[in-house]
């Protein structure tokens, strides 16, 4: 007995000192191999008395477990050490730059159009479109603006022929005409798009964007118009309250007509929308003129409703603090990167309009 205990102590000692996995394996076969020391001890059990055997077998088993356990731990210990050493060598500088990221952007005008569409979609409007080139009838005459009407002077029109028959639409209102001519009442649409006036300075561009709105049904009155625009402005500027003023105005194609101002103030050189004692005109609207309804074969004694026109670029400038309208159309890479929106930033109601 004392022999095997000595052997055990001796090997435990050896294993403790050992750091090489191969040598540990050698020790393992030295002890437990076919002719291993421990294996041979077990073989001897057959040749001794029963009483002695019982005791020796139990001792042997304990020693075997202890040694095997020790070997296992030792192997794990060495392996861990080796792996750690290898990983240490493999270490890279993760602060080196990643492969080039190419970040695309959505133009503010497109983003604002999507915001507007999202807001009006929530209250049941669908999106209509019309061509950029219009005839004189759809752009003016059908909209109750006959040739000799001074209101035509308010629009500096680009013409495509000398008879002034074909032109670039000066507003999105001809989409009202097209929509009503091809369909049947009721109508509930918005129509965003490009519009053109031959006017060019710091605050005017020869091309800009408008969104037209039209809601025609049996009992739509000015209260609905006010409610709809109040809802839109609050949603668009993402505020709970907005100071808003409806003020009488004149457009040939609506009667009564109104212009809408929103309150603002300048705080630390920045414009704050919705408060303050200054007014900013942002849109024109009114009840669709009975003459327009007649022109598009809608019976004005049965149907009535409102229309509005909003400058998209202007709204975007106010919301996103952009000062220069001309810069919208100058394709300066720096400007586009700065004011553009991430393509995954799709305006929606549930996620919030802007981030």
């Amino acid at each position: 007995m004392s022999d095997i205990k000595k052997i055990k102590d001796n090997y435990i000692d050896k294993l403790n000192k050992e750091n090489n996995i191969e040598k540990v394996n050698n020790i393992k076969s030295e002890l437990f191999g076919k002719n291993g020391i421990i294996s041979n001890e077990f073989k001897k059990l057959g040749s001794i008395s029963v009483e002695e055997r019982k005791k020796l077998a139990s001792d042997l088993n304990n020693i075997k477990d202890e040694l095997q356990n020790k070997i296992l731990i030792k192997i794990q210990e060495i392996e861990t050490k080796e792996i750690n050493l290898k990983l240490e060598k493999e270490k890279i500088d993760v602060t080196l730059p990643e492969r080039n990221i190419e970040i695309g952007k959505i133009h503010p005008v497109s983003q604002v159009i999507d915001e507007i569409s999202s807001i009006f979609s929530e209250i049941g409007f669908s999106v209509e479109e019309g061509p950029d080139v219009e005839n004189e009838y759809n752009n003016f005459t059908a909209l109750n603006t006959p040739d000799n009407h001074p209101a035509r002077d308010m629009h500096d029109t680009f013409y495509l022929d000398n008879n002034k028959e074909l032109l670039l639409r000066t507003h999105t209102s001809p989409v009202q005409v097209r929509t009503m001519l091809k369909g049947k009442a009721p109508f509930k649409i918005i129509a965003p798009g490009r519009t053109y006036r031959s006017d060019s300075d710091q605050t005017h561009a020869p091309m800009f964007h408008q969104v037209e709105g039209l809601h025609i049904d049996k009992n739509i009155n000015m209260g609905h118009l006010k409610g709809c625009l109040n809802y839109f402005i609050k949603e668009f500027f993402e505020v709970d309250k907005i100071k808003m003023r409806f003020r009488p105005s004149h457009f040939p194609f609506t009667e009564p007509s109104a212009e809408v101002d929103i309150g603002y103030e300048i705080k630390n050189g920045k414009i704050v929308i919705g408060e303050g004692n200054k007014w900013l005109e942002i849109l024109g609207c009114g009840m669709v003129h009975p003459n327009v309804l007649k022109n598009v074969n809608v019976n004005p004694s049965k149907y009535q409703g409102y229309a509005f026109g909003i400058g998209i670029d202007r709204l975007g400038m106010l919301k996103y603090g952009i000062n220069d309208l001309r810069a919208f159309f100058e394709t300066d890479y720096r400007w586009l990167s700065h004011f553009g929106f991430d393509p995954l930033d799709v305006p929606s109601n549930y996620r919030g309009l802007s981030r």
Binding site: L96, P97, R99, N100, E102, I103, G104, K105, I106, H107, S110, S117, F120, S121, I123, G124, S126, V127, E129, P131, D132, V133, N148, P150, A151, M154, F158, Y159, L160, L166, L168, K188, Y196, S198, P206, N221, M222, G223, H224, K226, Y231, R247, P248, S249, H250, P256, A258, E259, Q304, F328, F329, E330, T331, D332, Y333, R334, L336, G340, P343, L344
Partner: protein, 802 residues
């Protein structure tokens, strides 16, 4: 329309203060653009303090003064005054000021080699006294805290500037504005004093309005004023004219102008002695001419309404008078005209001749036809008062009688339109104050429309009158009705949305450029489309509608390259025009990509962008937008602005005429013509209108979900094939060998040159074979392999490489 509050109070009894008046005007639809004192030449002179006065380096008698003018920085002024010393408060005139004494305009100037910004003034220079020795010395106690403020108080009255909408000619006169204010409860309209003017004799210049088809004049009223002394206007009148932003001319002209702005009643004064016998109001004949008061000679067309005498045209009725009969200081006898001209005629003539005058602006919008006498009387009274003279009886010639407009108005229309109710009593009060004559017939109101309101012709116009005077704040704010009539977006609108954001997500910056472009650049991209010229372009390099998006995109690409950017990806989605009629336009995406991939990368090899970069972008975008990759075919038919060998088209059908997209390098000749210098440039375009709308939603058109768990095998094949043979064809041949078993075919190596015969190339493909029914054994696979090789060899004349 400009006027002062004082002028308004000539017509309105009001307790309102200025701010209340301003608010009221805006609230009833007369938008106030500004309310400011008219600017004065003396506004520029400001209180200043000399901080430091030292001797001029090049002149002992001059001083160089640092002057505090109330802004962040001091200003350096050269001054010759002996009394200029440190701490002196004085008056400073910046460059641009006009010195009252000599009317000289100051400019920045060098005095003995030192730049002087403006000057310090003496009392005599400002016409305050004759004291010209030294500069003004201001008292410390009074001016010490006024540095930077105006020295002269602007005493001119504040002027209200209204923006009058084209439907309201009546408010182009102060009285009309007063009437609107009175209707809205801002005071009481004063009653015009009865004139006690004494007339003597008849107007003995015969007036005839010719009865012609195109006659633009229906009433011509006049009177003669004999023995006047024309002169400079008195101060009150000059001030009125100045407040309008106009220059006083002479009493007679100023009076006619004053009456025009006061009553919205344009008048014209002729020197009666210069009229040849009689006045004939007639239509012009082509070629007639006259010299107008703006000192321009106008050559007339047919059918313009002219006032003439026996010698010819005197003036254009209602637009502008002529020099031949103009009044002067020496004028003794006047013929005063007060007429009615038809808006349509005025507008046509003024447009043709491109003349804009205050009279034209008013007649074009519609003048009160019943104000003929009122205007003559008011002006005559003033002329008599200021210039003396005797006034003849009024002579009014007409070819048409004015008919009052009557509207039957059902008050229910008001509530139906505005959504709120106004008591009949109040409603009638508003209308009466606006000048309507109201009588009741049961529930219907019979309204006689005032003669000064040509804009009111139907019941809806009455609704507008009532609601604007009552106040828009009474309109309720109703909750939006959420009813939806149809889906927000249709198929193509969704496609627009998806493609726009798909392309952007590939690293492209979206831009928006003009729909017009330079014809010279457009020329390179227009293919067979017609050129669409703009008759009145904003500038000669934006003179046509764009036939393609690329002219603008490449123009701005070049600008950004010039800014020093090298790697640029840009796109625009918008219209490209194919003809000049409405609807002749396509919605197109145009994209450009310039520069290098992996520029200055520490771990990747950099390379120039190439056709396959944009091919990936375009195909991936199309797939993301919902187009099935298996449903598209690539072809090398492309527009001429592409590199003929390095570009392709994406088609949805083999024989389709129009590609849904193109991609590739731009033609080198175009690069040269546009002088674009970049390492590499590739472009693509997608035409949304040519994409076939799928009838089903993607969720409904998906095939059944099937997959195979049997073992799949991969085999590589290398073929020697004609150089021009398209890899797409080869892939299709292989796929068609067994559509079920062959799951994918991937080209993974292409090369020419060494060991490959001239005119040939080697293509290696990897084919994945898998059955849905069993694991294929060697025999099955061998059979497929043989079939693949034989099909390819027979259909493409290729040879398998051994």
């Amino acid at each position: 329309m400009k006027f002062t509050v004082d002028w308004l109070k000539n017509h309105l009894d009001t307790k309102f203060n200025n701010n209340q008046i301003i608010d009221k005007l805006t609230n009833i639809g007369l938008e106030v653009e500004s309310f400011e004192s008219s600017t004065s030449e003396l506004d520029t002179f400001i209180v200043a303090k000399i901080i430091n006065a030292k001797t001029h380096p090049n002149a002992d008698r001059l001083k160089l003064c640092d002057v505090d003018i109330g802004s962040d920085k001091t200003i350096e002024v050269v001054c010759g005054a002996l009394n200029a010393k440190n701490g002196l408060l004085t008056v400073y005139a910046p460059p641009g000021s006009i010195i009252p004494k000599n009317q000289m305009k100051l400019s920045v100037s060098k005095i003995r080699g030192v730049t002087s910004y403006g000057m310090l003034c003496s009392e005599s220079e400002l016409l305050l006294s004759n004291e010209s020795d030294g500069i003004i010395e201001l008292k410390n106690d009074k001016y010490a805290n006024k540095i930077g403020e105006k020295y002269f108080k602007n005493t001119s009255e504040k002027v209200i500037d209204l923006s009058i909408t084209p439907n309201r000619p009546d408010c182009l006169g102060v009285r009309g504005i007063a009437r609107d204010l009175s209707a809205a409860g801002a005071g009481k309209l004063k009653i015009n004093k009865k004139s006690n003017l004494k007339y003597r004799g008849n107007q003995n210049i015969n007036v005839t309005i010719k009865k012609e088809k195109a006659q633009g004049c229906t009433i011509f009223g006049s009177c003669l004023i004999k023995g006047v002394t024309n002169k400079e206007s008195p101060k009150w009148l000059k001030d009125k004219i100045l407040s309008l932003g106009q220059k006083p001319i002479s009493a007679i002209v100023d009076i006619t102008n004053y009456v025009m702005f006061d009553l919205n009643r344009p008048l014209h004064a002729y020197d009666a002695d210069k009229i040849d016998n009689e006045i004939i109001v007639r239509s012009s004949s082509k070629g007639e001419s006259f010299e107008a008061l703006d000192n321009k000679k106008y050559i007339l067309e047919n059918d313009m309404c002219v006032i003439s005498d026996r010698s010819g045209v005197l003036g254009l009725g209602g637009i502008i008078g002529g020099t031949r009969s103009g009044t002067e200081y020496s004028t003794k006898n006047i013929l005063l005209e007060s007429a009615y001209f038809l808006p349509r005629s005025i507008r046509k003539t003024s447009k043709q001749l491109n003349i804009d005058t205050d009279a034209k602006f008013r007649f074009e919008r519609g003048i009160d036809p019943l104000s003929i006498e009122e205007g003559l009387i008011k002006a005559s009274e003033l002329i008599k008062q200021i210039c003396g003279g005797e006034i003849s009886n009024l002579d009014v010639k007409k070819i048409e009688n004015y008919k009052k407009t009557i509207i039957n108005f059902d008050p229910f229309l008001f509530e139906k339109t505005t959504g709120f109710n106004v008591e009949n009593k109040e409603l009638i009060k508003i209308l009466e104050r606006l000048g309507f004559n109201v009588s009741k017939n049961k529930k219907i109101l019979k309204l006689a429309i005032p003669s000064w309101r040509p804009d009111i012709i139907q019941p809806i116009d009455i609704v507008e009158e009532i609601v604007r005077i009552k106040g828009y704040e009474y309109i309720n704010t109703l909750e939006p009705i959420k009813t939806r009539l149809k889906p927000t977006l249709n198929y193509y609108q969704k496609l627009f949305h998806f493609l726009q954001r798909s392309v952007a997500s590939k690293g492209y910056l979206e831009t928006v450029t003009w729909s017009f472009t330079d014809s010279k650049i457009n020329q390179l991209f227009k293919e067979n489309d017609e050129e669409i010229s703009i008759v009145n372009p904003i500038s000669s390099d934006l003179n046509v509608l764009r036939n393609s998006i690329f002219p603008n995109l490449l123009y701005y690409l070049k600008k950004n390259l010039d800014r020093g950017f090298k790697d640029i990806s840009l796109f625009e989605i918008g219209p490209a025009f194919k003809g000049k009629n409405p609807g002749d336009q396509l919605t197109v995406i145009g994209a450009v990509r310039a520069g290098k991939i992996s520029r200055l990368s520490w771990n990747d090899k950099e390379r120039i962008v190439d056709t396959f970069d944009v091919k990936k972008d375009v195909i991936q975008s199309l797939c993301e937008a919902g187009i099935n990759k298996d449903d598209i075919i690539i072809d090398d038919r492309t527009p001429s602005y592409y590199h003929p060998g390095k570009s392709g088209g994406v088609y949805q059908n083999k024989n389709e005429k129009n590609a849904i997209a193109y991609f590739g390098e731009i033609h080198p000749i175009i690069m040269k013509k546009l002088d674009i210098k970049t390492e590499g440039l590739v472009i693509f375009e997608i035409c949304l209108d040519y994409i076939r709308a799928s009838k089903q939603k993607i969720k409904d058109s998906k095939s059944e979900y099937k997959f195979s768990d049997f073992q799949k095998s991969e085999r590589d094949f290398a073929f020697i094939i004609n150089k021009n043979f398209k890899s797409q064809e080869l892939v299709n041949i292989i796929k068609s060998v067994d559509n079920k078993l062959i799951k994918s075919v991937k080209v993974f190596d292409v090369f020419e040159g060494e060991n490959i015969p001239e005119g040939k190339k080697s293509i290696t493909v990897n084919v994945t074979i898998q059955s849905e029914e069993k694991t294929l054994n060697e025999n099955d696979l061998d059979n497929i392999n043989k079939l693949i090789i034989s099909s390819v060899e027979s259909k493409s004349l290729a040879k398998i490489r051994s």
